[in-house]
C-alpha cells in the first residue's frame, strides 16, 4: 500500500526521532551515564511507527517497553518521554513510573502494566468499553515475545473473538526475547501461528517495510472499527541493539546483526521516499528537523528539575 507522500515524510520524521533518541541514549550509556530502564528500539521503527500511523487520535494503544516509536507516533512529545526517562519533572508521571509508564490518556495512551501480560486484559477492557458505549474506536495492543507467551493473551484473545471486540494485536517478532531466540519459545519461531485456529485474520508481514506495516494495520483497524472483530498482525523485525544497557549481547551473532542492518527500516524508508517523489532537499530538511527535536528534548532534560517524590505514605 503506497502511503501518501506527506504522510510518509511525517512517518519518516517520527522514525528518525525514535532512532535519534535511542542513539543519544546509547551514547550516554557508553560514557557511563545512567539511562534508567532504557530499551533501545533501533531497527524496529517501521513496525512501531507504521502500526500506529493508521489510528485516529481517539484510538488507543498498549505499547511495549522496547522503543518509543509507538508513543511518538501517537503524539506523545519526545521531551515528555525523555523527562520521564530521566525522572525529571514535567514528563507524564513525575518519577513514579519512569519511561516504563509513560501515559497520555488524552492521546490514547492510557499507560502500561508493571508485569508484561496484563496489557491484553486491559486492551480487552478498553475495547469492551468502546463497544458498550457504541464508540467506533479501536484498541491496538503491541506485544513482544515475553508478554506473548503469557496466559492472559490466550484468555484475552478468546474474549476478543467471543465478543467481537475492536482490537488489533500486533506481535513484534524481533528475533530475540532477551537472550532467548524466538524459535526456542514459539512453534516455527512465529508468535502468531497459534491464532490461526480462531479463524480471524492472522497476517505475518515484513516489519521493516513501512508500507507493508501501514497497509496491513490499516486493514485490521478498519475491520475492527466496522465491528468485524479482532485481527493479529505479526511483524518480522530484529532487535539490533542489546536487550538493556547491562547486556553485552554476546549471544547475538554479529553476522546476523549485520544481515538485518542491511534491511534497516530507516534507510529503506528513506530510499522509498526518494523513489516516490520526495526531493533530496525535503528529505534532508526532515532529517535536520528530527535532529532538532532530539536536541531540544535533551536540552529540556538538562534544564529540568528532578521529579519531587512525596515522602508521605501512598495510601492512608
Amino acid at each position: 500500500m503506497q502511503i501518501p507522500l506527506e504522510t510518509a515524510i511525517s512517518l519518516y520524521r517520527t522514525m528518525l526521532v525514535s532512532r535519534g533518541f535511542d542513539e543519544r541514549c546509547a551514547e550516554l550509556l557508553a560514557r557511563g551515564e545512567p539511562v534508567p530502564h532504557f530499551h533501545s528500539g533501533v531497527g524496529q521503527e517501521a513496525l512501531m511507527v507504521g502500526a500506529v500511523a493508521p489510528l485516529r487520535p481517539d484510538d488507543q494503544i498498549l505499547y511495549t517497553h522496547r522503543g518509543y516509536g509507538h508513543l511518538l507516533a501517537k503524539g506523545v512529545p519526545l521531551h515528555e518521554i525523555a523527562l520521564d526517562t530521566f525522572m525529571k519533572s514535567g514528563g507524564t508521571n513525575e518519577g513514579f513510573g519512569g519511561v516504563m509508564h509513560v501515559n497520555r490518556l488524552d492521546l490514547g495512551v492510557p499507560g502500561r502494566e508493571g508485569v508484561f501480560g496484563t496489557r491484553f486484559g486491559i486492551a480487552a477492557g478498553l475495547a469492551l468499553a468502546c463497544q458498550r458505549r457504541a464508540l467506533d474506536q479501536v484498541v491496538v495492543c503491541f506485544y513482544g515475545e515475553a508478554a506473548g507467551a503469557r496466559g492472559a493473551l490466550y484468555e484475552a484473545m478468546n474474549m476478543a473473538v467471543l465478543w467481537r471486540l475492536p482490537l488489533v494485536f500486533v506481535a513484534e517478532n524481533n528475533g530475540w526475547s532477551f537472550s532467548s531466540r524466538t524459535e526456542w519459545l514459539f512453534p516455527e519461531g512465529r508468535m502468531s501461528r497459534v491464532w490461526r485456529g480462531f479463524e480471524i485474520p492472522v497476517e505475518v508481514i515484513d516489519g521493516n517495510d513501512l508500507e507493508a506495516v501501514y497497509g496491513e494495520i490499516s486493514t485490521a483497524v478498519e475491520r475492527a472499527r466496522s465491528g468485524q472483530g479482532p485481527s493479529v498482525v505479526e511483524g518480522l523485525t530484529y532487535r539490533v541493539d542489546p536487550h538493556i544497557w547491562w547486556d553485552d549481547a554476546a549471544y547475538q551473532p554479529t553476522p546476523e546483526i549485520e544481515q538485518w542492518r542491511a534491511s534497516d527500516p530507516v534507510a529503506r524508508t528513506r530510499e522509498r521516499l526518494l523513489a516516490t517523489g520526495a526531493s533530496v532537499e525535503r528529505v534532508a530538511a526532515t532529517e535536520r528537523d528530527a535532529e532538532e527535536v532530539v536536541a531540544d528534548a535533551f536540552a529540556r532534560v538538562a534544564a529540568a528539575v528532578d521529579a519531587d517524590w512525596p515522602t508521605a505514605s501512598l495510601h492512608r
Binding site: T92, T118, R119, L126, R132, A156
Partner: protein, 325 residues
C-alpha cells in the same frame, strides 16, 4: 428515608448491585456464571434484568477478566467483578497488586479508578484449603488497595454501595457464613457505610475485642458469656481492614488497657499481628496487655469435623479474654 427491611446479607448484596446497575449504564458487573446465580447466589436475577450490556458472563479467565476490569475503569466505567472464590485472587495477584493497586500511583493518577472486586471467602464446613481462606491477610500488605469485610446484612449493603461509588479500587470480602444472616437493612438508596469507619458493636470498660467478618459474631457470643462472668468487653468491628480505623481502636484500648484481636486466619502474617503491633508501638505506659485468637499455621482440612477444630470460636475468645483480665 429511614425505612428498614429484614433481609439476608445475600439479598442485601443483590439489591445493592441492582440499584447501582440501574443508576448508571457505566456500572457493569462481570464474572463467571453471573448469567445464572454467580458464585454464591448474589448474582441472582441481575442478568435477566440488566442484560448482556451490563452483566457480562465471562470465561473462566481470571487474568484477562481482571485486566479487562482495569481497562474498563481506565475508560471511566465502574466495573464490579465477582471472583468465584476469593482464594482465587491469588491467581490474579499480579493484576490486583501489581497493576490495579499501583496504577494511579505510577501513571498520571486519573481521578477515579472505580473498581469493585467482590467475592465469597472463609470456612464454611469442609470446602477445603483453597476455598476457605480469609484473604484480607494476603492483600492488606499492598499499598493502594482498600479492603472491606462486612459482617452483617446492613454492612453488606452499606459497604458494597460505598465500594461501588468509591473512586478507588475496593475489595469486598464476603464471608460465606454471613450470607444467610438476617438483619434490618436501611432502604435508603443512598445508604452507605463509610469506608474506614469501625462500628462499636458494644461498649465496655475491661477489654477491647476487635473482630470482623464471621468472627464478629463469635466475639459477640463471647462478650455475652464474659458479661455473665463480670467482664465488660468493648467489641469493635473495624469493617474496613485497609485503611484501618486506628482511632477507634486506639481510643478503646486507651480506655480498657487490654486488646484481644480475633481473626479467622493462620497466625503468621495475620492482620491481628499488624493491629497489635501498631497499638503497642503507639501506646504510652503502661503498655496494654494484648493477645490474639487466631488459627495455628495450618491449612483447612476437607473434613468439616476436623475444620471445626482449627477455627477460632466463642469459647476460645472467652478463654483468651479471661486470661488477659
Amino acid at each position: 428515608m429511614n425505612d428498614t427491611k429484614l433481609m439476608t446479607s445475600r439479598q442485601a448484596l443483590t439489591a445493592v448491585l441492582a440499584d447501582e446497575l440501574a443508576a448508571s449504564t457505566d456500572t457493569m458487573f462481570l464474572g463467571e456464571t453471573v448469567r445464572g446465580l454467580g458464585a454464591a447466589g448474589v448474582a441472582s436475577g441481575l442478568y435477566d434484568r440488566f442484560g448482556p450490556e451490563q452483566v457480562i458472563e465471562t470465561p473462566v479467565s481470571e487474568n484477562a477478566i481482571f485486566g479487562a476490569v482495569l481497562g474498563l475503569a481506565i475508560a471511566g466505567m465502574r466495573p464490579i467483578v465477582e471472583i468465584y472464590s476469593a482464594d482465587f485472587l491469588l491467581a490474579v495477584a499480579n493484576e490486583v497488586v501489581n497493576d490495579i493497586a499501583k496504577w494511579r500511583h505510577q501513571q498520571t493518577r486519573p481521578e477515579q479508578l472505580a473498581i469493585t472486586i467482590r467475592g465469597c471467602m472463609g470456612a464454611n464446613g469442609g470446602l477445603g484449603p483453597e476455598h476457605s481462606q480469609s484473604m484480607e491477610p494476603y492483600l492488606h500488605h499492598a499499598p493502594g488497595l482498600t479492603i472491606v469485610v462486612p459482617g452483617t446484612p446492613a454492612d453488606c449493603a452499606g459497604l458494597l454501595r460505598a465500594a461501588i461509588r468509591s473512586p478507588d479500587p475496593v475489595i469486598v470480602l464476603e464471608h460465606r457464613r454471613v450470607y444467610e444472616l438476617e438483619g434490618e437493612v436501611r432502604q435508603d438508596p443512598d445508604f452507605v457505610v463509610g469506608i474506614g469507619e469501625a462500628e462499636i458493636v458494644r461498649s465496655g470498660g475491661d477489654i477491647t475485642i476487635v473482630a470482623w467478618g464471621w468472627m464478629r459474631h463469635e466475639a459477640e457470643l463471647a462478650a455475652d458469656e464474659l458479661a455473665s462472668r463480670g467482664i465488660s468487653a468493648e467489641l469493635i468491628d473495624p469493617r474496613t481492614i485497609r485503611p484501618m480505623d486506628w482511632d477507634a481502636i486506639r481510643h478503646s484500648v486507651g480506655k480498657t488497657g487490654r486488646l484481644l484481636v480475633v481473626e479467622e486466619s493462620p497466625i503468621t502474617g495475620s492482620v491481628a499481628g499488624e493491629i497489635i503491633t501498631r497499638v503497642v508501638e503507639e501506646a504510652g505506659h503502661p503498655v496494654p496487655r494484648v493477645a490474639r485468637v487466631v488459627m495455628a499455621d495450618v491449612i483447612h482440612p476437607y473434613s468439616a469435623t476436623m475444620e471445626a477444630e482449627i477455627l477460632p470460636g466463642a469459647d476460645d475468645v472467652v478463654a483468651a479474654a479471661t486470661r488477659l483480665c
